[in-house]
């Protein structure tokens, strides 16, 4: 009945199957690496100087080459195409026949390290596209590391002192930038650091799928993501609050360091971390590590568009004059709730008491010798209601109707709320030079002392008000 139809179907499907089978057979017989190995053999014959080497070239067998390293659980077939990496006669050849640069293989023999321990990529692949995995649509999670970031791999086994001495300048400079640009002010590494950003432990081994690639202009790889994100965080992650003001070169170095923050460790016998560095515990180094990202030099307050609030100048002499170290330590330890200021105590951002003391000491190093004139707030009988009226006229414009802060700081936060009334009164009276906070006492706006005392008493009630 439909015999003819079925015969046609059989014919068409068989032809399709045959075509696929032949295509597969062709690919099996003519893989990419075979072409490279044939070329290599020819080149080897040409470059061989003596008879022995010519014999060797002649005896070269074209087949899949593999470095299996049991201790690293790696099977790297990269050498199927990069066939001349160990052959000095290939020093001047082109990639992929070229000898490996430098003397790296002398100290890191292929039989022990393979390729992907340093270069990453898909060691098991036997064609370039999938081995390098640079194209996003290969969907492999770990693309090959671009050579400009390759030093991130050295840090798996070597300490930074050794790397600095031996010219691994990129990862060393990246680390220096990381520690001096205040990255840890928002990001935790090894349990210490701010909480506004993501913890960065193991970020160097995060698979590609972890990074939103939608707005990436270049290659959709982790390293390209880091670089573009460093140059303009909000172009890559629109809702990001990250601060980054670095140039193109610095972005490369930082990306190299970030890629070195791996979650996997090389086996013990591979690691060569000889000197354990004593971390720089000076107040200045700690300030750079944790504070400089937001507070910059600490000398000027500025309105931050992204945080939508003023970031106070914490080394302002006017502040230091009225705030003692104990008060500063309290702010650093507890943070300012309701703002981006993190609580830095050991149980929160993970700094030790000692580190906080060092930071406070550093911040207060330029404290003026003269103490402010005492206000003696206790002798006034304050009128909270009157204070509220005055607050709405004088303070609400900057500090918000309920003290929630905008241009001025948030007055509802626990540190202000638990501050000594004397300190608050002095601040209102004398203002805060170097910030938009003017003096409200007789030297400025001209409020009476009684009025200032009223305002202070009202400010102390702000925490009970709901937003």
């Amino acid at each position: 009945m439909h015999r003819r139809f079925y015969l046609k179907l059989l014919l068409v499907s068989s032809i399709a199957l045959l075509a696929f089978a032949l295509l597969a057979a062709y690919k099996e017989i003519n893989p990419e690496w075979k072409h490279y190995q044939n070329n290599y053999k020819e080149l080897f014959m040409k470059n061989a100087k003596d008879e022995a080497m010519k014999e060797k070239a002649k005896a070269f067998k074209v087949e899949v080459q593999q470095l299996y390293i049991e201790k690293l659980n790696r099977a790297d077939r990269c050498v199927s195409c990069h066939i001349g990496v160990e052959n000095p006669m290939m020093a001047k050849a082109e990639a992929p026949y070229k000898k490996h640069s430098g003397d790296y293989l002398g100290k890191h023999p292929l039989s022990r390290f393979g390729c992907t321990a340093c270069h990453q990529g898909q060691g098991r692949a036997t064609n370039k596209e999938e081995a390098h995995a640079l194209e996003h649509d290969t969907h492999w999670e770990y693309p090959i590391v671009p050579l400009k970031h390759i030093q991130s791999s050295c840090a798996q086994c070597h300490d930074y002192a050794m790397l600095e001495k031996n010219g691994a300048d990129k990862v060393v400079r990246g680390r220096k930038l990381f520690l001096e640009k205040g990255c840890l002010g928002c990001h935790k590494v090894d349990g210490a650091g701010g909480i506004l950003g993501k913890a960065l432990d193991g970020i160097g081994t995060q698979p590609r799928a972890y990074f939103p690639m939608r707005y990436i202009q270049g290659e959709r790889t982790q390293s390209a993501w880091h670089k573009e994100h460093f140059l303009d965080p909000r172009a890559i992650v629109p809702e990001s609050e990250m601060k980054a003001s670095i140039n193109d070169e610095e972005a490369d170095f930082l990306a190299t360091y970030i890629l070195a923050l791996k979650s996997t460790e090389m086996p013990r016998e591979y690691r060569r971390i000889r000197q354990t560095e004593t971390p720089d515990m000076s107040g200045e180094a700690l300030y750079k590590k944790y504070c400089i990202g937001c507070h910059t030099t600490g000398r000027e307050s500025y309105f931050d568009e992204i945080f939508n609030r003023t970031i106070p100048s914490i080394m302002n002499p006017a502040l230091l004059k009225s705030a003692d170290n104990q008060y500063l330590k309290k702010i650093v330890s507890e943070g300012r709730e309701g703002t981006q200021m993190t609580s830095w105590k050991p149980t929160a951002a993970g700094l030790t008491e000692q580190e906080i003391d060092m930071i406070v000491e550093y911040i207060s190093k330029d404290r003026p010798a003269a103490k402010p004139e005492p206000f003696d707030v206790a002798k006034f009988r304050a009128d909270v209601k009157r204070g509220g009226e005055l607050f709405n006229i004088r303070c609400a414009l900057c500090h918000g109707k309920k003290g929630e802060g905008e241009l001025g700081i948030n007055l509802k936060n626990p540190v202000v709320q638990s501050a000594d009334p004397e300190f608050l009164a002095v601040t209102v009276r004398d203002g805060r030079a170097g910030t938009p906070m003017p003096p409200f006492g007789k030297d400025g706006v001209g409020l009476k002392e009684q009025e200032i005392a009223d305002i202070v008493s009202y400010v102390k009630t702000l925490s009970q008000k709901k937003l």
């Binding site: 046609k8 060797k56 299996y68």
Partner: protein, 165 residues
């Protein structure tokens, strides 16, 4: 039947004197191609049974530059289970795996001694006592392109084969 309409003028029972009919051709071609396709597919499947590479460490390994092996050297490479010797005639490598049950033999004044069942070999690896069925194999030594000596534990050579640079 509609699909036979084109051939209606022919008598289906009458034998075609020349060539094959269109339907027969279709049938033959269909079955032929199907068989060919199946054969290629099966050939492909059989190809799968033979692994191109295995997940095992290469048995060919570098042992260092020739200068590291002056005459008189006796070196035991523990992780590779090989002895390397250098004498006036050249370099040679002897496996240190006992041919009896695979223990690691140790060198003595007169040759090699197996600690497990007392097999004894002379300096050339020849069995001089104990249960060992075969002499210790001599392994191929060659030179890598980069100047290192290479021992191939998978390739046995004739006793007395010595490598000179």
């Amino acid at each position: 039947m509609n699909n036979n309409a084109c051939c209606a003028h022919k008598d289906p029972h009458k034998k075609e004197p020349e060539g094959v009919s269109r339907r027969d051709f279709l049938g033959l071609a269909g079955i032929g191609v199907a068989i060919a396709a199946s054969f290629t597919a099966i050939a492909g499947i059989f190809r799968m049974t033979k692994a191109t590479v295995h997940y095992e460490e290469s048995r060919k390994f570098k042992i260092g530059m020739p200068a590291e092996f002056p005459v008189g050297t006796i070196k035991k490479l523990d992780d590779k289970k090989v002895f390397v010797f250098a004498d006036t005639e050249g370099l040679y490598a002897i496996s240190c795996i006992c041919t009896h049950l695979g223990c690691i033999v140790s060198p003595t004044e007169w040759g090699f001694q197996c600690p497990c069942h007392g097999s004894k070999y002379n300096k050339d690896g020849k069995v001089i006592g104990g249960p060992a069925p075969r002499p210790l194999p001599w392994l191929e030594v060659s030179l890598h392109e980069d100047g290192n000596l290479v021992v191939d534990a998978a390739k046995e050579v004739k006793k007395g084969t010595k490598f000179t640079v």
